[in-house]
């Protein structure tokens, strides 16, 4: 695998994706090369990791992420995760990963029924996953949330299993913006390589345009993992 300085991180664009430019900027800021991946291509262009960014893929009219999961690029992505490719789904990307079955549970309408855009405190719960080693255990970070359907739900057994195996990545603190079960903001797969997160680390990479640069750690963590791999 390539070393971090030459790491190439793919950023998927579906029709209706919005935060792809931001995810690419975050990847660049972290020191890697962003590679644009088009929804209609059966081609991951040999990237070392992939970000599925936020937005409203295909308008999210049926259900968030429901149509995106069928795109050619997702077929390739699901296969590649089987070979260990790190993937981060942010917001709509998280919804797509859940719909695709790469992560358990589902994201439903915010409890308050409104779209919520605000700066949100999160606590790092798992700091050993591919996407979170740069955070101290229990560290609190400030990152924007912006979504209308971000309430994480899963059955009790799944929630217990996520907790006991340390797969809760971040938890909301200082107020739960959407009614997520157990204040869950993000989770990982069993291997800790595929992660999904409702808040937007790519919007917290520069205090000029975001509340903090606390989100950069996620991208840097992935680069670290790519070096040592």
């Amino acid at each position: 695998m390539t070393v971090a300085t030459g790491a190439r991180i793919g950023v998927v664009t579906f029709p209706g994706t919005l935060d792809d430019v931001d995810a690419q900027r975050a990847v660049r800021r972290a020191g890697a090369e962003p590679v644009a991946l088009w929804h209609g291509d059966h081609d991951l262009q040999g990237v070392d990791a992939v970000v599925v960014p936020g937005g409203f893929s295909y308008g999210d009219y049926l259900r968030c992420g429901a149509i995106a999961k069928y795109s050619p690029v997702m077929t390739e992505l699901v296969l590649a995760t089987g070979r260990g490719l790190p993937v981060l789904g942010i917001c709509n990307g998280f919804q797509v990963l859940c719909e695709s079955g790469l992560l358990p549970g589902a994201l439903t309408r915010n409890a308050g029924l409104h779209y919520v855009c605000r700066d949100q405190w999160l606590r790092a719960e798992n700091t050993t996953s591919t996407w979170s080693t740069r955070y101290e255990p229990g560290a609190e970070v400030l990152i924007p949330v912006k979504h209308g359907e971000g309430s994480y739900v899963a059955d009790e057994d799944t929630l217990d299993e996520l907790e006991s195996s340390g797969r809760v990545l971040f938890r909301y603190v200082g107020g739960n913006p959407n009614g997520s079960r157990r204040d869950i903001a993000g989770i990982t797969d069993t291997a800790g390589r595929v992660a999904g997160l409702m808040p937007h680390p790519e919007h917290a990479v520069d205090p000029l345009t975001g509340p903090t640069d606390d989100g950069l750690g996620m991208f840097l963590s992935a680069l670290d993992a790519l070096v040592t791999a």
Partner: protein, 79 residues
């Protein structure tokens, strides 16, 4: 107690982007033969026995549907 179902659908002449999104995705997934899809809402209400049809219609018309762009129907389900 009775179960009442209110179906709310976008009016025929009104654009239904949701239904359209589903209809155009189906062939891509290999499902042929679906020529049109419209997406609306379904409400299930648990209703006390003394709530009459007129009240149910008023609820549908004022709360559950937006008559400017949606049609609605109310029906009581057999228990």
């Amino acid at each position: 107690m009775a179960r009442v179902v209110v179906d709310v659908m976008p009016k025929q002449e009104i654009l239904d982007p949701q239904g359209q999104a589903v209809a155009s995705a189906l062939p891509r997934l290999g499902f042929e033969g679906i020529s049109e899809v419209r997406q609306g809402k379904r409400f299930e209400l648990e209703v006390a026995a003394d709530v009459d049809d007129e009240t149910l219609s008023r609820i549908a018309e004022t709360m559950l549907a937006n008559p400017v762009i949606e049609d609605w129907t109310v029906r009581r389900e057999e228990a």
